[in-house]
Symmetry: C2
Subunit: 198 residues, 2 copies
C-alpha cells in the first residue's frame, strides 16, 4: 500500500477511537469515522471490512509474531518459559502501539460487541501459541493448557502495565508469571480431599 494509503489508514483508526470514546461505539457510524479522518466512506471500507475491525488492525501480524517468538525461544526452555520469552519478544510491538491500545481498552470495556470480538481474537492467539508449543514437542493437552494460562498471565501483565507505566512491560510480565507460579504452587501441598472434611 502506498504511503498515503497507510496515512489514511492510521487517520481512520485514530478518528474511530476518538469518536468511540466521545459518543460510544454503537452511536458512531463508519461515515462519521471517514468524515473525521478526511476521507470517503469508500476509503474506510477499502481498509477495513467493518466498524469493529478498525480497532483490531495488525492482530494477524501480532499472532504470527507470538508464534515466531515461541519457535525462536531456546530449546532448553520449559513451555511456560518459552511463552514468557515470546511475550517479551513482542514487547516492542506493544510499546509502539500503546497510545492506541490503551484507550482502546476503555472502549472495549464499555461495548459488549467488542468484548465478543476480543474473546474470539484471544482464542485465536491461544490456538497459535498452543500450536507453536506442540511444534516444540509439547503434548497437545499440556500445550493447550499452557497457552491459555500464559495468555491469562499476559493479559494480567498488559493490564498492570497500562495502569502503571513506571515499570516496563517485561518486568510486569515477569511479575505476572511469578504471581501465577505462587497461585498454583499451593495446590496439592495437602490432599484437598482430606481438607474437605468438615
Amino acid at each position: 500500500m502506498p504511503r498515503d494509503g497507510e496515512d489514511a489508514r492510521r487517520r481512520l483508526q485514530q478518528a474511530a477511537l476518538e469518536l468511540f470514546r466521545e459518543r460510544g461505539y454503537d452511536a458512531t457510524t463508519t461515515a462519521e469515522i471517514a468524515a473525521r479522518a478526511g476521507v470517503t466512506e469508500r476509503t474506510f471500507f477499502r481498509h477495513f471490512p467493518d466498524k469493529r475491525e478498525v480497532l483490531f488492525d495488525g492482530e494477524e501480524r501480532f499472532r504470527a509474531a507470538l508464534a515466531d517468538g515461541v519457535a525462536a525461544a531456546p530449546g532448553a526452555l520449559e513451555p511456560m518459559e518459552a511463552l514468557l520469552w515470546a511475550f517479551g519478544a513482542v514487547g516492542p510491538i506493544l510499546e509502539a502501539n500503546r497510545l492506541f491500545t490503551e484507550p482502546r481498552q476503555t472502549v472495549v470495556a464499555d461495548t459488549p460487541a467488542l468484548q465478543e470480538r476480543v474473546r474470539t481474537k484471544t482464542a485465536g492467539l491461544i490456538d497459535a501459541l498452543a500450536e507453536a508449543l506442540r511444534r516444540r514437542g509439547v503434548e497437545g493437552g499440556p500445550a493447550a493448557l499452557a497457552a491459555q494460562v500464559g495468555m491469562a498471565a499476559f493479559g494480567r501483565a498488559a493490564g498492570a502495565w497500562f495502569a502503571d507505566p513506571s515499570m516496563c512491560l517485561e518486568d510486569h510480565l515477569r511479575a505476572a508469571f511469578e504471581e501465577l507460579r505462587n497461585l498454583t504452587s499451593a495446590v496439592g501441598r495437602a490432599d484437598p480431599k482430606r481438607r474437605r472434611e468438615r
Copy 2:
C-alpha cells in the same frame, strides 16, 4: 414449571442435540427441533429464547453453584485450592449432565457461532469465580488471574474426563491442577533475561 413442561423441555434439548449432530447446527431449524420433540414451535420458544440457548440450559444455575462452592470452601484454602474445591463440589451436576454435555462438545467444535456463545458463557463463569474469590479477601488482580487459570484447568479436566471416563472427574481435576502447578513452577527458576542471550 409443571412436570409435563419439564418433560417437553428435556425432549426439546435431546431432539436439538440429535438434529445438530445429524444435519449440523446451521442446517437445523427450531421448527424441526419442535417436530422431532413432538411439540409446537411456540412451545420451543416458551422454553428457549433462540436455537443456541437450547444447548446451554442450566448455565446460570451452574454459575451460581460454582460461586457458592468458592464461598463454602474452608477459609484456610488458598485461592486455587478454593477453586479446586468448588469444581469438585459441582462434580455431581456435571456427572448428571454428562450424557448431554459430552455429545454437545462435538456439535460446538463444528459450529463457530456456538463457540462464540461458549466463550461468552465461560467469561461469565470466570467473572463469577473472580467475584467469589474477592469476597474471600483475594485482591482483584490475582483473583481475576486465578479465576481464568482455574477455569482453564477445569476445561482441561472436563476434556480429559470425556476422553477417559475410567477415572472420576475429581481425579481428572486434581491431575489438571497438578499439571498446572508443574507447568508454572519452571518460571523464575533461572532469570529468563540471562537465558535469552544467544
